[in-house]
Amino acid sequence: MESAGEGWTPKILAFLCNWCSYAGADLAGISRMQYPPNIRVVRVPCSGRVNPYFVIKALQHGWDGVLVSGCHPGDCHYISGNLVARRRFAVLKDLLEYFGIEPGRLNFSWVSAAEGEKFAIVVKDVVEKVKSLGPAERLVKR
């Protein structure tokens, strides 16, 4: 990824679950809601598909922030994928922040297919947070 300099804007990798958050992002799009263009979306079948290693790898590759978004608890297309993911991410986030990764680089949200507006707000929040942190440096492989 290009290095930070004048006019730097963060790049954020977003893992969106196919059934809720991706559809939510789609709704935000077709409803013409404005949100910062800093996210790059990876569509995953379920938030439970997101291996914690994906998140760590994204940080290593120099992404300034990561967003993982899935269905609200109870709404998972696969019944419990997001509940499994929730525990996994709780541990991952605690561990990474203990390790010295700035809080704010890792973001998680529940966005349903009907919550286009929430999606736009989440992205706005995440981008603002990551912007204030500046470009990622820790854990990045040079």
Binding site: P73, A90, V91, L95, F99, G100, W110
Partner: protein, 315 residues
Amino acid sequence: MHNAEESIREAAKKLLSEKKVDLIVGHEQGTLPLRTTPCFIDKVEDVPKLVWNENCDANLSKYLIGRKERMGVVAKGCDARSIAVCTFEKQIVRDNVVIIGAPCSGLIDKKKVRTKLEGKELLEATIEDEQIQLKGEGFELVLPKKDFVCSSCLTCRHKTPPIYDVFAGTKVPEVEADEFSDVADLEAKSSKERWTHFKEALDKCIRCYACRDVCPLCYCKTCFVDQTMPIWFGKTTDLSDTMIYHLVRAFHVAGRCVDCGACSRACPMNINLRELMKKTEKIMKERYNYTAGLSLEKVPPLGEFKMDDSQEFIK
């Protein structure tokens, strides 16, 4: 601990002569002072080789994984707890294993002793009455044992194995200890200070994987760092790769680690790996009220979920 040694030998003799087990896994005297080495005994006449003292630091559960024989194993608190974890994970067949529980009074940290000796060669060592006597050419030292105990043993609450079949010796009462004080100290620092701390600590790592090889929970046939199809993982000693190795390993043992301290003891570069492992334990304790290795039935936190799990970090 010496009466425990006699009881262990008796138990081992009984198990072997009654043909209840094919093999006893225990510790025998090593070739260097303050050292013991794992030993495997299949004949009654070899039983006197077994020793039990403050130097029996190998976590013997590692030797039970994937074995078909019926084995008796000498286990201190942490060994028994890792046996429990591996049994739950179906790596050890409980019916094949007879756990000879032994009381532990804390292991001697050879690294602390070595630092104290400042490079002088140790020729003889005895531990008696809470004191370590060290002898070598031209020096003789008497040290208080409590200053040279492994850091994992200092805050260990389960010095008596929570799970055993035969108990040898006298039980050590469970002690209340502030086991997470080191983690709390680190947590009190800023994110940047912690980052610098771990960066400096892990910069020493030479990626020998001794920590993984010695860990009873690292039993994967192909470890993620060894996988080549696909390559998951940078194999260089680049700091970023090294740090991710330790991070991911900590994540893999989260909710399973029993803090036996084997990884820290095995590290040739003197990295205090417990700092990371202990944090995973703390997360499990605080979020899911779970302590690994105390039961054979309880599902570890990352193996289950509840509808009302904490999710304050999710928007």
